[in-house]
């Protein structure tokens, strides 16, 4: 007797017995049925079988339908054309992520292999394409040694289906591993590695943030390692997606992108005013994981980020693995209120370096030094440019001097270029730059070799870049020299010209040329070839 053959009338007879029996302890049920069924063996058999089924039934339907059957709602992927954009020949699938599938493809035009990412059909459908394309273009404009460049993007109609089309983007195929792969090999990285990689990532973030591009999905999977250096992948993709979808008149909630473990609290609640500090938070979480081998919150529930109690234990875990200075830098990045984090990723990068220097010094003067109260204090105490009496020059340190400008319209670029070029040059190979604020504080005189030498002496930078901007009609000509303060020789000289409203591009060209020249005299990693 099962559902289909059970009549309503029969059920009316059975149900009260079943209810009553269910109230009893199993051991008492037989006696109860003896007395109530009174020889109606069929009835008794039915009730007993149902009782048994009720016991068994407690194991079914416990998990909500949306979890058990949720996959039914996913869109099947339509067939991918063999040739994307008339150019990229798909070879094979190499990965599948939350939003996209990655394929290895041939780009015969440039005789290279590329990684083509196609957004999942369901994702593509909820996007506004124009907005998506616009954001992708902004991301494609990023050019930084620690950012994986975006070669191309486009939309491709699916074969035999007008409902589906593919949004795709094309990046260089990086044969190296991701930070996640590395973490699988090595559960924890040394503090020095954490600082080095953290700084590279922070500088790349800083560069992008200054151009108004936020990543929104910084996690070990999205950090690739190329010749040991960090390269951020998928820049602007998450942002493009969230902007596209928030642009909706039906006031629907913006989908919350990102990965819960690394997502900032404001991003997790779908706040609209998410800024670069959200990436700083995520990077903090990544560095925490690199240092400790654990995620700050192993399995946060959807929509929840690091809670206060978890934070306390996170603090303790981190302190076991790294110096108090580095721990406080990482935890500051992971502060829940965004105002408590570093204001910029550049500040974060400098604090990381400051913390590692502090550590070295603590080894030498363990007895002398009390724990530095904050990371920023650590910087001001320890950075070589804090002292007027630098005796040794740091061969890896370059100071970018304020530019001489030949027209009032160029005045903002006097110090502006210090900032931009310092960041461009920073982290190319072992090269580091003196923070712009320090340079500006210590700069005196005109952009000439003598002032440059003084700047090097004060800041401890063996290399000093100085130069000027001249306006000629609609264009601007920039000349730049790099002085080796120790030998007094000029080791690089470059000149570039561009239209007056593209000083940003001009500064990128200058940086790239300078790096190319420096490459001849010192080892700078291949990464710089990507600075265009």
């Amino acid at each position: 007797m099962t559902l289909g053959s059970l009549s309503r009338d029969r059920w009316k007879t059975i149900e009260p017995l079943l209810d009553a029996a269910l109230e009893l302890e199993p051991a008492q049920r037989a006696a109860f049925l003896d007395s109530t069924c009174r020889g109606d063996t069929a009835l008794r058999a039915e009730v007993e079988s149902l009782l048994a089924a009720c016991e068994l039934g407690t194991s079914i339907l416990e998990t909500p339908a949306a979890v058990t059957y949720g996959p039914l709602l996913t869109e099947p992927e339509p067939p991918l054309p063999q040739l994307l954009g008339g150019r990229y020949r798909i070879l094979r699938e190499i990965g599948r992520g939350g939003m996209a599938t990655v394929y290895l493809a041939d780009d015969p035009k440039h005789r290279r292999q590329v990684a083509v990412k196609t957004l999942h059909a369901g994702m593509a459908r909820i996007l506004g394409r124009e907005q998506f394309t616009r954001e992708i273009e902004i991301a494609a404009g990023l050019s930084h040694p620690h950012i994986l460049p975006l070669h191309d993007s486009g939309e491709e109609e699916s074969e035999g289906s007008d409902e589906h089309s593919f949004l795709y983007f094309v990046s260089p195929f990086a044969a190296g591993e991701s930070l996640r792969d590395r973490l699988r090999r090595e559960p924890r990285l040394s503090a020095a590695e954490v600082v080095r990689l953290g700084r590279e990532i922070a500088l790349a973030l800083d560069y992008a943030h200054r151009r108004g591009v936020i990543h929104l999905d910084i996690k070990p999977e999205n950090i690739l390692l190329q010749e040991g250096h960090a390269v951020i992948a998928d820049f602007g993709i998450a942002r493009a997606v969230s902007n596209s979808t928030s642009d909706d008149t039906r006031e629907r909630a913006m989908p919350i992108l990102g990965t819960p473990s690394y997502m900032s609290p404001e991003q997790a609640v779908g706040a609209r005013d998410v800024d670069g500090r959200s990436d700083i938070y995520s990077l903090g979480c990544v560095l925490y994981e690199l240092a400790t081998g654990e995620r700050p919150v192993p399995h946060p529930k959807y929509g929840e980020s690091v809670q206060a109690t978890a934070r306390t234990s996170a603090f303790r875990t981190l302190h076991k693995r790294v110096s108090p200075e580095l721990a406080s830098v990482i935890l500051r990045a992971m502060a829940r209120p965004k105002d408590d984090r570093f204001a910029t990723a550049g500040d974060f990068a400098r604090a990381l370096i400051g913390a590692s220097r502090e550590r070295k010094r603590r080894h030498w003067h363990r007895a002398v030094l009390a724990v530095a109260a904050t990371a920023s204090l650590a910087i001001s105490l320890m950075a070589p440019w804090a002292s007027r009496h630098v005796t040794t020059l740091d061969a890896d340190l370059i100071a970018v001097a304020p530019f001489d400008v030949g027209a009032p319209s160029l005045a903002p670029w006097k110090n502006g270029l210090v900032d931009v070029m310092s960041r461009n040059l920073d982290s190319a190979g072992s090269l580091r730059t003196v923070p712009a604020s320090i340079v500006i504080d210590h700069w005196q005189g005109r952009a000439d070799a003598e002032s440059a030498r003084m700047l090097g002496q004060v800041t401890g930078a063996r290399l000093v870049l100085f130069g000027g901007l001249l306006a000629t009609g609609d264009s601007v000509r920039a000349t730049v020299s790099v002085l080796d303060v120790e030998t007094g020789r000029t080791i690089a000289q470059v000149e570039h010209r561009d239209v007056a409203d593209r000083i940003d591009r001009l500064s990128d060209s200058l940086s790239a040329s300078v790096l190319r020249k420096l490459q001849r005299t010192r080892r700078i990693d291949a990464g710089i070839a990507r600075v265009k």
Binding site: L3, D19, G122, G160
Partner: protein, 218 residues
């Protein structure tokens, strides 16, 4: 509540408008008062919106499991903002969402089965992934049929299953939505699952995937 289900849920989508505030507020009030027409009117709206948000969630996070509770809560906030709803409306709203979720999943499973019979073969998607989804579709449709039979036997038992299983609702929420005692919900849930496991178990061999599709996580 299950008697209110359309046997073939050809729900007129997009015909109802969410921007008509006063009528929506009225709908929620009627729903609370237990008026069946209100339920029938509100179901298509919830169906449409819930399906949209479920798809969006899955598109964004395909590797995570859906949380009906989160989806429905988001939806309710949106509806209640539009309607200046009373907090007491929430339980009734959840009840509607549970039924909508059942329709959504069943419609989707039917489409899957239809595609499987006549549809084009796909590449790119992993084969075993398709298998698993087809098995899911079959098992859901079987459950759906059994639940219809259960509804014919005892409407309330089927409603409890809708709320608890399809709506992911707690005992308390189910009790409020169905206007019955929590104790009754608990008992009905036990009986309903007993009857269902008997029905589903009877028609299937032990290896046909039922146990896989009705997971026993507790």
């Amino acid at each position: 509540m299950s008697a209110m289900l359309n046997p073939e849920p050809a729900i007129a989508l997009a015909t109802a408008r969410t921007d008509d505030r006063s009528s929506f507020t009225q709908l929620l009030t009627d729903l609370r008062a237990g008026r069946r027409e209100a339920f029938d009117q509100i179901l298509p709206l919830v169906y449409h919106e819930l399906r949209q948000s479920a798809r969006r969630e899955l598109a964004v996070r395909p590797n995570d499991s859906l949380s009906t509770t989160a989806l429905v809560h988001e939806l309710y906030l949106k509806f209640s903002r539009a309607a200046r709803a009373d907090w007491r409306d929430r339980a009734h709203f959840l009840g509607v969402a549970a039924v909508a979720m059942r329709h959504i999943l069943v419609d989707r499973a039917r489409r899957r089965m239809a595609e499987k019979r006549g549809g084009p073969s796909r590449h790119v998607t992993l084969e075993d992934e398709i298998m698993a989804i087809d098995t899911q579709a079959e098992s859901l449709l079987e459950l759906h049929e059994a639940l219809d039979q259960l509804g014919r036997l005892d409407e309330r038992l089927a409603s409890v299953v809708e709320c608890r299983f399809f709506g992911g609702m707690t005992e308390q929420e189910t009790a409020a939505a169905l206007r019955i005692a929590v104790r009754t919900v608990r008992r009905d849930w036990t009986k309903a699952r007993g009857l269902l496991s008997q029905a589903l178990g009877a028609g299937m061999s032990p290896t046909s995937g039922l146990s896989m599709c009705l997971p026993s996580h507790r």
